[in-house]
Every structure is written in structure tokens, then in C-alpha cells.
């Protein structure tokens, strides 16, 4: 098989991945009343409709708050655990790592059911607290994987130098380790936020009646028919979930090149 053929094949795969998404973005600017083909012109009316749609705006706020809280909690737990796993000789390290990664090895539906039934039995029914607990537990493995990979590359001697110069372990952590770890912390937090913001599988099990996140809002709007408003909402989501990590990566990159000089 020639290289040219492989390249052609790869381009086709890229097109397969991107075209449907591109069509969502394209149709969100559609002036046509029904939001379908053929397009009759370009317009921002569907974005305006979105802005004035209370249910959508409420869902946005819910997703935002949930995502931020998930990111903070998940990243805190993940950084602490990664520090222990990378910096200390913990007995049973492999077993512990597997246990911490377990939430992504269990199918999300099963995790969703187990958490719902157990917390309900403890007296915590479908609520924001349940949603938050669920989002934290399945974003945690991703944070740990990202932070651990980064932590391995930070040299131990910098910390030891600080310690030998009289800094306490806590001081060392905050003035030496944490600044070096910042890109990993940011990446972990961003990862957790995006996964939480996108989740629907668990969220549909955990959300209380009347509360919607952006994905569940889209899902319930789909029940009627596909409207141009959904495409507009999709475009906003794409900008958020793709633009934010790209921005984050760009910032991290400029920070690390500055420090490198």
C-alpha cells in the first residue's frame, strides 16, 4: 500500500470526524426558519434566541457551577494522591493506583446506579450534592493520570535543597513544588471541568427533577426535534470545550518558555 493511499485514507478519516461538527456550526448561523438545509442566509438570530431562553441560561449556570466545583475538589484530591504516589515509597502502590483509576474502569452507567442507590439509602436523594459527588469520582482518575505524569518529571533535589535550607515540608510544598506543578494542576483542573461540563450518562441518573445541565438540556430539546437553537447551543459548547483547553495549553506553553529562559 503506497504512502499516498494511506494519506488519502487518513484525510477521509479526518473528514469523517470533522464534517458533522462543522455542519452543526454552519447550521447554527442559518437564517432559515426550520434550521435545516437548504440554507437561506446567515444570521445570529438563533444565538439571540439562546440568550433569551431562560431554561438554557439556567442550564448553563448549573453546568458552570458544577464544573468549577468538580474541578476544585477533584484537582485537590488528585494532586495530594499523586504527590503521595510519586514522592513516597508507598507499599502496594500498584493496587492503590488501580483503585484510584477504578472509576473509569467501571462502566459509567453502573457507577451511576451504584452511587444513586447508595447515597439515596444514606438519605441523600437526587440533588446537586449527588451530582457533585458523581462528577468528582469519575473525573478524579483523569486528574491523577495527568498530574502524576507531570510530577515524575519534577526533580526531587530542588525540594531537598529547600528542605536543607531550613524550609518546612509545608513551606517547601507551597513555594517550590506547587509552582513547578502548576501546569499539571491547571491541566488537571481543565480536564476535570471539561469532562464534568460534557457529562450526560451519569448526570441523567443523578440530577433532581427540574434541574438541567447543558447536555441534559440539549437531550431534552432533542426529544421534540432538532432545532437551529440546539445547533447554536452546540456551537457555544464547542467553543467552550475546545477553545478553553487550547487557550490553557497556549498559556501553559508561554509560561513554561518564559521560565525556561
Amino acid at each position: 500500500m503506497g504512502w499516498g493511499l494511506i494519506r488519502l485514507y487518513a484525510i477521509a478519516v479526518y473528514a469523517f470526524m470533522f464534517l458533522p461538527v462543522a455542519v452543526v456550526v454552519l447550521l447554527s448561523f442559518n437564517a432559515n426558519q426550520f434550521g435545516s438545509f437548504p440554507m437561506t442566509g446567515l444570521s445570529l438570530r438563533w444565538f439571540e434566541a439562546l440568550w433569551n431562553n431562560d431554561a438554557v441560561m439556567r442550564a448553563f449556570r448549573t453546568s458552570l457551577v458544577l464544573g468549577l466545583m468538580t474541578a476544585v475538589i477533584s484537582t485537590t484530591l488528585g494532586v495530594l494522591a499523586s504527590l503521595a504516589l510519586v514522592r513516597y515509597d508507598v507499599p502496594g502502590k500498584n493496587l492503590i493506583t488501580t483503585a484510584l483509576i477504578a472509576p473509569i474502569l467501571v462502566p459509567e452507567v453502573v457507577l451511576a446506579v451504584a452511587l444513586l442507590l447508595f447515597l439515596n439509602w444514606l438519605g441523600i436523594g437526587k440533588s446537586f450534592a449527588l451530582l457533585l459527588a458523581g462528577h468528582v469520582i469519575f473525573t478524579l482518575p483523569f486528574v491523577i493520570l495527568v498530574v502524576q505524569a507531570r510530577l515524575v518529571s519534577i526533580r526531587r533535589d530542588v525540594e531537598e535543597a529547600a528542605l536543607s535550607l531550613g524550609a518546612s515540608p509545608v513551606q517547601t510544598f507551597f513555594s517550590v513544588t506547587l509552582p513547578l506543578l502548576m501546569p499539571a494542576v491547571a491541566a488537571g483542573a481543565l480536564f476535570a471541568f471539561t469532562i464534568s461540563f460534557d457529562d450526560i450518562t451519569g448526570t441523567l441518573f443523578w440530577k433532581p427533577g427540574g434541574v438541567e445541565t447543558v447536555p441534559t438540556q440539549i437531550f431534552s430539546m432533542l426529544r421534540n426535534s432538532i432545532s437551529p437553537e440546539i445547533n447554536a447551543l452546540g456551537t457555544v459548547m464547542i467553543l467552550l470545550t475546545v477553545g478553553l483547553p487550547l487557550l490553557g495549553a497556549a498559556i501553559a506553553r508561554s509560561l513554561s518558555t518564559k521560565r525556561g529562559r
Binding site: 487518513a10 479526518y14 513516597y88 508507598v90 453502573v110 483523569f142
Partner: protein, 288 residues
């Protein structure tokens, strides 16, 4: 002595919040639904505790459930094979490209960041009655009535392939990157054609990545219920849809527990087989 003891305690202090969360929010709940699956649903509200096998008998012997389980495994298998066929050459192209690999990889990973529900519903714009394909074909005069391409099993598989392909590409790419290209050159210089050296050197060495990608595609594909709800018809339910129905619609939590555990066990066997032969390290490589 006391410093040493403190040193030994420190990692556990750091680990305890995360381990506590996983224990309280995953392991204990899983044990809890094992117990719950032996309870009975009662119409009055509180489920009847005790040790009843009814849910398990229903979950294991109901022909409809068995049909859906087999159908789910079939859909997941077809999806995995398609992901491998589409993803392997693409990953090979990225790994052996002389251009900017990182950009190529990032481009293919971008859809990975785009919300699952949006990528799933985007196919309605393509395949729907007034979607891109039908509008195009009608404008060309090829067809006079829109074709019914949505709400069937093929649409579900298409949606799943679109969702899972990045997992396959990333895993295959990671393993291809780890192969010393000198090995291929050595094979060709010893008289093998490029195709032969690929089949006998590169492909076998990249199998761990292919297996890791395949496992992820299969497990994630078999555990989905959103794709069938959005792109499938009423007869295209997958096993996770049964779980959703039992828990959310019928509020039959004991039966829902048994069905969830059945799904966990079926997929768990696959993960265990994978772990036995290839280990979890390969999977972590692809995820990180």
C-alpha cells in the same frame, strides 16, 4: 524514630482523601447494589429487604434481556472492528508522517473534546429527513423522497464509531511511536517488501496498542444508552437502556441493580482477560 514514623505516615495522609472518596463513592456503593439486587421491589415505596433471587432469575432467564445483551455485544464488536479499520491507518499516518505530528494528532483529538451529546446529535443534521445527505441527493434529482437513514442500528453504530474513534487512534499511535523504525528498515534491507515488513514487524509490535484501543472502544460502546436513544429506533435499545428504564422509568431499583451488575460482570470478564495477557500499564499509557 518519631521522624521516621511521621515520614511513613505522611503519604497515607495525602492519599486518604482520594482513597476515601473512591471507597465511599465507588466500592461501597458497588457492594451495596450487590445486596440491593437481592431485595424486592414493592409497590408501596420502601423495597423489601432480604435474600430473594427473583431479580437475578429475571435478569438471567428473560429472553428479551438475553436478546438485548447479545445485541449489545454485537453492536460493540462491530463498532470496535470499524474503529480499528478506520483508526489504525490514520494513526499510522500520523506516527510516520514527516510533518508536524503533534498538530496532526491534536486535530484528530479535537473532536474528543467536543461534547458527546453534540457529536451524537450532529448526525441528525447529516442523515435526517432534511439533513445534508437527503437535501443534496434531492437537489441532484437522485431521489424524490428523503431516505430514512436515521433511527436504526446502522445509525447507532455510526454514532458510536464517531464517538470512540479517537480512543483507538490515540492508543495505536502511542504504540506505533514506541517502535524503533530501524526495525522496519532492517526488514526491508533484508529483502522484505514494505508490505511484508509492515505485516511481520510493525503490526505485531503495535498489537498492544490496538488491543488497548479495542478494549476501550468495546467497553465504552457496550455501556452506552444515550446513542441508541438519540440515533436508534424503538427496537435498537442496548443493555444500558434496560438499566436506565428499570432505575429511572420503572423505579425498580432491585432489578436495576441486578441488571447493572450483570453488565459489570460481562464487561469485567473482558477487562480481566485483557489484564491477564497485557496488563493495565498499556491502558494507562494511552489515557495519559
Amino acid at each position: 524514630m518519631s521522624i521516621e514514623r511521621r515520614e511513613a505516615r505522611q503519604p497515607w495522609i495525602l492519599l486518604s482523601p482520594a482513597l476515601g472518596a473512591v471507597a465511599l463513592l465507588l466500592f461501597v456503593p458497588l457492594l451495596f447494589i450487590v445486596v440491593y439486587s437481592f431485595w424486592l421491589r414493592s409497590a408501596t415505596g420502601a423495597d423489601t429487604t432480604g435474600f430473594h433471587l427473583d431479580n437475578w432469575i429475571k435478569a438471567l432467564s428473560d429472553p428479551f434481556y438475553r436478546y438485548i445483551l447479545l445485541n449489545t455485544l454485537k453492536i460493540a464488536a462491530i463498532t470496535t472492528v470499524l474503529c480499528a479499520l478506520l483508526g489504525y491507518p490514520a494513526a499510522y499516518f500520523i506516527a510516520r508522517s514527516k510533518g508536524n505530528k503533534m498538530i496532526l494528532l491534536l486535530l484528530l483529538m479535537l473532536p474528543f473534546w467536543i461534547s458527546y451529546i453534540i457529536r451524537t446529535m450532529s448526525w441528525i443534521n447529516i442523515l435526517g429527513a432534511s439533513g445534508a445527505v437527503n437535501t443534496g441527493l434531492m437537489a441532484l434529482g437522485v431521489i424524490s423522497e428523503p431516505l430514512q437513514m436515521l433511527y436504526n442500528e446502522a445509525a447507532v453504530i455510526l454514532g458510536l464509531v464517531h464517538f470512540l474513534l479517537p480512543f483507538m487512534v490515540l492508543n495505536v499511535y502511542v504504540s506505533l511511536e514506541g517502535i524503533d523504525t530501524n526495525l522496519e528498515d532492517a526488514a526491508t534491507s533484508l529483502g522484505a517488501t514494505r508490505w511484508q515488513s509492515f505485516l511481520q514487524v510493525t503490526l505485531p509490535l503495535s498489537l498492544p496498542g490496538l488491543a488497548a484501543g479495542g478494549l476501550l472502544c468495546f467497553v465504552l460502546g457496550a455501556g452506552t444508552y444515550i446513542t441508541p436513544l438519540v440515533l436508534g429506533g424503538p427496537r435498537d435499545a442496548m443493555f444500558a437502556n434496560l438499566v436506565f428504564e428499570a432505575i429511572i422509568t420503572q423505579l425498580n431499583w432491585p432489578l436495576g441493580s441486578a441488571l447493572s451488575l450483570l453488565l459489570l460482570m460481562v464487561l469485567g470478564v473482558l477487562v480481566a482477560i485483557y489484564n491477564r495477557y497485557l496488563g493495565m500499564a498499556q491502558l494507562a499509557k494511552g489515557l495519559g
